[in-house]
Subunit: 251 residues, 2 copies
């Protein structure tokens, strides 16, 4: 028996059980048929965070629909670290990029927050979720990050889970350098990163944040970073120092 | 005397000496006149890595040319860390992002290298340099990174400066997690990061690299990262753990 290889990975929210058929959506059918030029009998991988990842055989493939039959399991479901990213919405292309890269780097939830100096930007959650799914398929995650509804920062802070550490990326230099700030965290503690808008936080916001017991202030070096650069750089530093990069590559 | 504020920052390669006039180029003249709607008398900042940063007064502003008179010095020139980034050229938009973000994160030189599995991509050095200058102006750097000519990886390695550490981002899991790998470096050592093409390095390339005395292998966690994500994430981890983020924000 030769080992069959999956031509691509598809996120399938339905239950994945060996021997059972699952439907794929119109975009997935289009991708298999017209982009990858696959037909019935081709092998793909289907995954979700609850069931893990399975080799699946294409059963039917129409113009706007299709179905797969789930075959053998490739990976069991496993708990994943889930740092949250709290960010002030930014312009569309930079936001798309942030969601793609943040998904690759392991974000569990994108939490848009409105701060005092946030410029109102329309945020299309459906488009952002499509970017997150595509990035999850590409980077071999099992989970897809949540894309939360935008909410005012004080409202998000008022409902904060007591056990989750919030790392405030403070562009005014009010915190310790991020490596020192992260080294002080309890290993494996649930975490979130908060990055301000292009105009920075208001002083009153910084003062209020500094008084919260779950907040750690961290500095991101000597240069002025764009909001999306700060978010991804802080996330990379977090994963390297305190997150799931410490364990190395899954083989 | 009120303190005058600069409306924007311009990279000016000419010598900056108080009281002396300097020419600006056509793109800068366009930006001052048509984007920022400034005229003669307006104040801008002019900078370069050799002379530092000066407040400058707009003297003349035509359609395609203009001149400034250099006034008081705002910042002295200072040595800057200069990590290099060795990368296999990628598609245009992703490369533009890489140069913008890498400049914000402090790259000293972008070094395009051709590896065995590098897809040939045209690389427009002039356009990339324009992106690097715009990012340097925005992020308050004094220097602008070099954009080197693409060269085969073995040629770059053959001419390698003995005192510069090369951190190989090894997607096969061959190295220690990057935080552990970086913690072993001599503080302040000149460094470079090497990130492979989308298809990864060939095994022969990895074996040859592992044998070089200046190479440290480092792993970037459990997920499969796009080339530009790997480069920026590795750079952020480097700056946080071993680079100029350790010192905190310049005030």
């Amino acid at each position: 028996m030769t080992k069959e290889r999956a031509a691509t990975r598809l996120h399938l929210p339905a239950a994945l059980v060996a021997g059972v058929a699952v439907e794929i959506d119109a975009a997935q059918a289009h991708r298999l048929r017209h982009v990858l030029r696959l037909g019935p009998g081709a092998m793909v991988a289907g995954f979700n965070a609850r069931d893990g990842e399975f080799l699946c055989r294409v059963a039917e493939l129409g113009r706007n629909r299709g179905s797969l039959v789930v075959e053998t399991r490739l990976r069991a479901a496993a708990p994943e670290a889930d740092p949250w990213l709290l960010f002030a919405p930014i312009k569309r292309l930079r936001l798309d990029w942030l969601v793609e890269k943040g998904t690759e780097l392991g974000i569990g939830a994108f939490v848009p927050v409105m701060t005092e100096r946030t410029q109102p930007e329309r945020l299309n959650r459906e488009r952002l979720l499509a970017h997150a799914i595509a990035a999850a398929e590409q980077c071999e995650r099992l989970s897809v990050p949540d894309i939360r509804e935008p909410a005012p920062l004080p409202q998000v802070l008022a409902a904060w889970p007591a056990d989750r550490r919030l790392i405030l990326c403070d562009e005014t230099g009010g915190g310790a350098p991020i490596a020192a700030a992260l080294a002080g965290l309890e290993p494996g503690v649930p975490a979130a990163l908060l990055v301000g808008p292009e105009g920075g936080f208001a002083q009153t916001e910084l003062d209020a944040l500094a008084n919260l017991p779950f907040v750690t202030r961290a500095g991101l070096g000597p240069r002025v970073l764009r909001a999306e650069t700060a978010a991804l750089a802080a996330l990379a530093a977090f994963q390297a120092i305190a997150g799931d990069w410490r364990a190395g590559r899954r083989r």
